[in-house]
Structures are given as C-alpha cells and as structure tokens.
C-alpha cells in the first residue's frame, strides 16, 4: 500500500511538526508528544486533557484550543500514549483548579491514564477521570474489555471543554463529562480494512461486496460480516441499533462520522438517511455534525453517534470553540 510518509517510525513526529507549523496558536512539543493550547494554564480554569493512539485525527490534537481540550497526548499509531506524556500535559495546563482526564475505554488507555493520574497527584495536581464507552456494538461487556470509546469522545471533549471554559469547578466539569457519556451511544461500519504504517498492508481481508458491522476505530474486524448494503440499509441498521440502546426521551445531537476513507459526498448522503430514520423513530434532532472527526486512518466507513441533550448540554454545544478541527461562535 502506498502512503504519503517517509518511514513508519517517524509518522507521528512528522505529523506533529506539520501541525506546529500550521497552528501557531498551539504549543506542540514534538519530542515529548504533547499538544497544548498556547495560553495554558488559564487562570481559574480546569484543564481538560485527553489522548490516545494516533491514527484517529483530528481526534485528539485537532480538538485542542479554547472551548475544548486544554491539551492532548498522541501515542504511536493505534497505541495508547505513555504516562509521562499525560503527566507533562497535566502539569502544563493545571492552573490550580485541577485537571480532567478524558479516557477512551481501551485496556491500554485506561492503564496508562491510571498510572498518570497517580503520578500527577504525587505532584500535587488534582485529577479526575472520565471513561468514554459509547460503542453499542460491544454487547457482552461481562466477557470483553467493555464498550469502546468512539464518536462520543468528541461530545465529551466539546461539552466538558465548554464547561471548563466557563470557569466551572472540576466536580462540575467531571459531572458534565459523565452525563454526556451516559447519554451517548455509537455504532460503526467498515467498508474497507485499515492499513497501519507499521504493517503496510490491510489489517484484515474485507472482500469487495462485503462490509463489517460493529467495528471499532483501530482496524480490528467487527462482530459481524454481511453482504454489502446501501446507505439507506446501513442507516436503518445503525440508527435502530443506537436508538434501541439509548432509548432517547428528548432531543439529540447527531454525529455522522467518517472513518477517514469515505468522501463527504457519501457522508452527507448517509446523513440524509440517518435523519430519515430518526424522523421515523420520532427522535427530535437538535444539532447535526457531519465529517471525519474520529477516524481510523484510511478506513472507508462511518459511524453514527447520538447524544441526548438537555438545555445545559445544548448551550455548551453551541458555546464558542476555537480548535484546528472544530470552530464556531465568538
């Protein structure tokens, strides 16, 4: 597989150097792999820190800036970052008001953030942690590592970040993050496998004419393989699966997310089908976001995330945000 890289070993560092050049409003520490908003720490504000394996861009570095993340720690491709990065990020953004770690529920992320939280607390930084686990494709949470963190990560980071920007104390920022995760569910499908730079060839074999239902964001195969479906059929399946699990009793924010290899033309067409199903299901839609936000390298496919919002969450969603990948208001 051809890739726009030099050598696999330097893809993350190369991308960070490029990000630093494109975004002077960010402070990018290429050697230590930490992306921090340049004005951090902001007096009186809770720091919101996330991180995870690379390969999901713009998550998380693209979401650093006023109104969202204070800092992000990119790991190797599809590999959780190490505790040293998280401690460094926490120290860089802590104004004394404490730091919230937003952790996607994967064994590696959880272990490394747990270790980092202990080390940061040893340095006198107050740390709270919120786990994102929105992927309904994982049904058997007793016999697995539990539901994965996927599209809802964007909602948690945006809404917790907006609360922090308003000056909310750590307990409240943490409570917002938990509420957003509790009220969010996702389901993803893959039309192609993913090629990691380290391997250079697709991680699994997905023949023409078939798709994977219930995929994560790391190129791992899904739970079920079927004959290729139309956009309409995929939307029916995905939205029903999410709605049956979330059982929304009020308006939702919709994220129609591309996995990195599907054109926006197709994503918008898919969104039309998603909105149709939601109307049929009588689920009111408050806001919709369409684009490649929580990706899986070059994978073709998409995910649907619904987040049921109340007045406060909707206000936080509409609040200004100034990041590389998400910006509105002000």
């Amino acid at each position: 597989m051809k890739m726009l890289i030099n050598v696999p070993e330097t893809v993350v560092a190369d991308a960070l150097r490029g990000m630093a050049a494109a975004h002077p409003e960010l402070s990018v520490d290429v050697a230590n792999r930490v992306v921090v908003r340049r004005d951090a720490p902001v007096a009186g504000q809770v720091g919101v820190v996330s991180g995870g394996g690379s390969g999901h861009e713009p998550l998380h570095g693209g979401f650093v800036g006023p109104g969202m993340l204070s800092a992000a720690c990119p790991g190797e491709v599809f590999t959780s970052p190490v505790p040293d990065q998280m401690v460094r990020a926490a120290a860089a953004v802590d104004s004394g008001a404490g730091v919230l770690f937003v952790v996607k529920n994967y064994t590696g992320d959880v272990l490394n953030f747990d270790m980092a939280a202990e080390l940061a607390e040893d340095e006198g930084i107050q740390v709270a942690k919120v786990l994102v686990n929105d992927d309904v494709a994982v049904t058997d949470s007793l016999y697995t590592a539990g539901r994965r963190g996927t599209g809802a990560t964007l909602f948690v980071e945006k809404l917790a970040g907006a609360a922090a920007e308003e000056g909310a104390p750590l307990e409240h920022v943490e409570a917002i993050a938990r509420r957003v995760n509790d009220r969010s569910r996702s389901f993803g499908v893959a039309l192609s496998a993913v090629t990691t730079p380290a391997k250079g060839s697709p991680t699994f074999d997905l023949p023409e004419g078939e798709l994977e239902l219930g995929i994560g964001i790391h190129g791992e195969p899904g739970r079920e393989r079927r004959a290729m479906m139309t956009s309409r059929e995929i939307a029916d399946f995905a939205v029903h699966t999410v709605v049956e699990d979330l059982l929304p009793s009020g308006p939702v924010i919709v994220l129609v997310n591309g996995m990195g290899g599907t054109p926006l033309l197709e994503l918008y067409g898919f969104n039309a089908e998603v909105q149709r199903v939601l109307t049929e299901q009588r689920v009111p839609v408050a806001r919709t976001l369409v684009g490649n936000y929580v990706t899986s390298l070059d994978m073709a496919g998409c995910s649907v995330t619904l987040c049921q919002v109340d007045e406060e969450l909707l206000r936080l969603w509409d609040a200004p945000v100034q990041t590389a990948a998400l910006r509105w208001g002000r």
């Binding site: 696999p8 505790p83 064994t107």
Partner: protein, 209 residues
C-alpha cells in the same frame, strides 16, 4: 533438561544478558508478533515491543544499574515510558515488580528469582484484571512461573505450550475481546511475546555455566 539447583546464584550480568537476549528475540520475531496481532488486534505488537526493548538497551548502555533488582526495575520503567498501549504497563509491571521483589542484593538465588517472578506475574494479573484462559499474556506467564520451580528450560516449555494453547480460546480481555467468537482460532500475540521473554531467560541460563 536438568533440574534447577535452587541455590544457583544469578548476578547482575545474568539479568543484563537476559534483557539483551529478549531484545534480540523481539527483533527477530517482531514481524510474526505484528502478524498475529493483525488477526485479532491492531497490528502493532511487534513494533511496540521493538521500540520498548531497544530503549531498554539504550538505557542499559547509559546507566549501570547495580544489582539484579535494579536492572529489572529500570527495564520495567523504561517499558512503561516508551511502549504505550496495554503491553507497556503490563510488561513494565512484570519486570518492575519482579525487580522490586528481588530487592537490592548483588546476587540472587534461582529460588529467590522464582518467587520474585511469581510476584511479578501476580502483579500483571492484578493490573490487567485477567485470569488464565482469558487469552492473554497470563496464559503463558502463569504456567511459566509455576514451572520455574523445576528449571528455566521447563518454564520456557510451559510458556510456549501455554501460548499455543491460546489458539482455541475466546478472548475475554484486551482488544481481541471485541471480536467475540471470531477471536477463536488465533494465537494470542501477548502470550506469544511472553513465551519469547521466558525463552530468552532459558537461553541465558543455558549459556551461563
């Protein structure tokens, strides 16, 4: 294979040579580990361990940790700081806790090492929340820790057997668990690399008079 002499002594150099042998083994098998990981994971186990063990070698060259315990604690910390993912904290904890249990003696007996290694394996089980049969590193490490009481060679054999025995298992921890029944029929990459680590230990013991 000869039975272990429980009072056989192992010095600092033994542990340095173990880590050097493990690094060579990881370098040689990185491709296979990544291949196994691409079937039921995310295709990076080999390259992640390669990065970690290379940095252990660099650090060993720079620093001269004094005593078997210090060598393993340093290696464990280095893995935690460079590997990432789940294997960083898990392998790091295995070596760090084994090292801590060895204390600061300049030499340890094979019996003391066996006890310390068992403490390291128990720490891995506690950190990851997995048990034998979940299709993880522990399926190689637990039988190895058990057999280490007999000999280093027996431990390597038990680990290898344990890794092979993960093939028919369904993963219940880690990223492979998301596959459900589709994880059956593949050898666990973590159990495989764990077996390599124990094989390197046996090779080192074999080469030590």
């Amino acid at each position: 294979m000869t039975d272990q002499k429980p009072d056989r002594t192992l010095d600092t150099d033994f542990f340095r040579r173990w880590l050097t042998a493990a690094t060579a083994m990881v370098e040689r098998e990185a491709g296979r580990l990544t291949e196994l990981d691409s079937a039921i994971g995310d295709a990076d186990h080999g390259s992640n361990l390669q990065r970690g063990f290379r940095s252990v070698m660099t650090e060993l060259g720079r620093e001269s940790p004094d005593g078997p315990g210090a060598v393993l604690v340093m290696a464990g910390r280095q893995l935690i700081s460079t590997v990432g993912g789940a294997s960083g904290p898990l392998y790091g904890t295995l070596l760090r806790r084994t090292g801590k249990a060895l204390g600061d003696a300049p030499e340890v007996t094979a019996e003391q090492f066996t006890e310390a290694f068992r403490a390291g394996v128990a720490a891995v089980a506690q950190l990851g929340g997995a048990k034998a049969g979940d299709k993880t590193m522990l399926d190689a490490l637990e039988p190895a820790a058990e057999a280490l009481g007999t000999s280093f060679g027996a431990a390597a054999e038990a680990a290898e057997k344990g890794a092979l025995a993960t093939v028919p298992l369904q993963a219940r921890k880690g990223r492979a668990s998301y596959l459900g029944e589709r994880s059956i029929g593949h050898q666990d990459p973590g159990a495989t690399s764990s077996a390599l680590l124990v094989a390197a230990l046996a090779d080192t013991a074999e080469a030590t008079p």
